[in-house]
């Protein structure tokens, strides 16, 4: 039996959502690890892009920042933000974007800016960064979050990035370029979106968790299909590659998603 950490599980899980030859926004952290893992396994020709300006990157060490020079050498171009977020992303050329969030609602809308009231916020979070842009314009959006009841809320404290907004037709109303969220990956489960209502739906639960565990940890009505499979586990091959990619455990030794 393969043994793995939570981080390794999540990275392997996320990596399966990257297909070969796709244009992927890598960022940092888990999404980057997932994208690099995908490139080392089933998606060798995925084009890893960092919003800071790096295109087709093949970092030999894991970057800590989207602007990290580790993204530079052996990339095929190093330009700037107008290139990546404008000419590439806004023009509809990004297949997959990854985002994290502090809060998500049942339509996959995200909050990465404030906890508490906007006028006197309790906690200032990082803000949108390129998040709103990616959520607006990437063809598919993969959301990665730690699973916590306070994060799966009926009402966001602040809507930073568009998911499916108010449901069918609402992204079209604003002529958003991208297709919106496709998958939400947490440390308990994977969720997708019901094609009819565009509301979050349970897709698979991770080994060791039950459907009830998930239901106990969301504050909205989660759609649960009749058949909920168990999420695929990482292979030893995937784990070995991750340790080669991050030999110093910069990401692998971290606690959360």
């Amino acid at each position: 039996m393969v043994t793995y950490s939570k981080i390794e599980f999540l990275a392997a899980c996320a990596s399966r959502h990257v297909n070969d030859r796709e244009n992927v926004f890598g960022g940092t952290g888990l999404p980057l690890l997932a994208a690099l893992l995908a490139k080392e396994t089933h998606a060798a020709n995925a084009n890893l892009i960092s919003e800071a300006g790096f295109i087709d990157a093949k970092p030999r060490n894991v970057p800590l920042s989207v602007a990290d020079s580790r993204y530079y050498y052996r990339s095929s171009a190093a330009i700037g933000l107008i290139e990546t977020l404008g000419f590439i992303l806004q023009a509809g050329r990004i297949d997959v974007g990854f985002l994290g969030a502090a809060q998500i609602d049942e339509y996959g809308n995200l909050n990465t800016t404030y906890i508490g009231d906007y006028d006197s916020p309790k906690v200032r979070l990082p803000g949108s960064g390129g998040g709103n842009d990616i959520a607006s314009s990437a063809k598919r959006l993969i959301i990665m979050m730690t699973h916590d009841k306070r994060k799966f809320v009926k009402e966001l404290d602040h809507r930073t990035s568009p998911g499916h907004l108010e449901g069918p037709g609402s992204r079209e109303k604003w002529s958003l370029v991208g297709g919106g969220p496709e998958v939400v990956i947490t440390d308990m489960c994977q969720m997708d979106f019901d094609p009819e209502t565009l509301r979050i739906r349970l897709a698979s639960v991770h080994p060791g968790y039950s459907v009830q565990d998930v239901l106990d940890n969301v504050m909205f009505d989660l759609i649960v299909p009749d058949d909920v499979p168990v999420t695929e586990e990482p292979t030893q091959h995937q784990i070995d590659i991750m340790h080669r990619l991050d030999p110093n455990g910069i990401y692998l030794s971290k606690g959360g998603g």
Partner: protein, 285 residues
């Protein structure tokens, strides 16, 4: 040179070419009520927010990325001492592009459908969503920025101000052109002859440049492509110390107020240690 109350374009992106030395100097000169415009800066914003130099930010992002949240900013916002007008990275980059082009706005396809359009702090009109007169689609206009000063950190500059940048440019091409005055911080002075031999390598022509400052390790503890890597140890210490107000005050006293200038700061960090950060070829870090 920068008066109290001025607004600034702040260069660098993420860990790359952050004008840290300039933020130190603003703190030492006890500047107040500055407004900073940038996409995503990190340690420098923490320093300026923490020390009370900057009270307004128009930004898309503040955190130390992989290392975690921006503690000083979080405290200052909770205290009500700092106001942040939130945009996305593309929105900010386009605002700088619009400023550089001297047009009053630029159209983007982001922000719509979210609180980024609905909520604003102090701007009377933060964005404007309109119907496109050509296609009928909704499109979001973001107001251009022409701040009093642009602060940009580059690798090399000649005597007259022509600057070269290695690696990514982030939003610095637009940013360097949008400000009313441009201050360029460079790691190295090169001869004008070197510039004129390869004019297509010039990223910022001298005609935009008002002041040049030549200093080594301007970005420390962040990185400068082809020159030096980030100082992970120092960064982690910084991030850990900023978790408490006391820790931050101690850092502020030790590394910024307690040193006379940038060279004294580098002395304190240690030249041998700095030397160990120097970039290796061909990687650039």
């Amino acid at each position: 040179m920068v008066p109290d109350g001025a607004d600034l374009f702040w260069g660098g992106f993420g860990y790359q070419r952050a004008p840290i030395a300039f933020s130190h100097e603003l703190v030492r000169q006890k500047k107040r009520n500055l407004t900073v415009h940038t996409c995503g800066s990190e340690v420098d914003l923490e320093i300026m927010a923490g020390a009370g130099v900057t009270t307004r930010f128009e930004i898309a992002f503040v955190a130390i990325e992989a290392l975690g949240l921006a503690n000083n900013m979080r405290r200052r916002v909770a205290e009500g001492k700092v106001e942040i007008e939130d945009y996305s990275n593309l929105a900010m980059a386009m605002r700088f592009l619009g400023g550089a082009l001297n047009v009053p706005f630029m159209p983007i396809r982001s922000l719509m459908g979210t609180d980024m359009v609905e909520k604003s702090r102090y701007r009377e009109k933060k964005v404007e969503v309109m119907d496109c007169p050509f296609t009928g689609e909704k499109i979001c206009l973001v107001p251009s920025l022409q701040p009093d000063f642009s602060i940009v950190h580059v690798q090399r500059v000649d005597q007259t101000g022509n600057a070269q940048i290695d690696g990514i440019v982030g939003e610095d091409l637009e940013g360097s052109r949008c400000g009313k005055k441009l201050i360029v911080l460079a790691e190295e002075l090169i001869d004008e002859e070197e510039i004129r031999t390869r004019p297509d390598q010039t990223k910022i022509p001298a005609m935009y440049v008002d002041h040049v400052v030549i200093l080594p390790y301007v970005a420390h503890p962040m990185e400068c492509h082809d020159y030096y890597d980030y100082d992970l140890e120092h960064l982690q210490m910084f991030h850990k110390m900023t978790r408490t107000e006391e820790g931050w005050q101690e850092y502020l006293e030790n590394y910024i107020l307690g040193v006379e200038n940038h060279y004294a700061y580098l002395e304190l960090v240690g030249w041998e240690h700095l030397h160990s950060l120097r970039a290796r070829k061909p990687w650039g870090y």
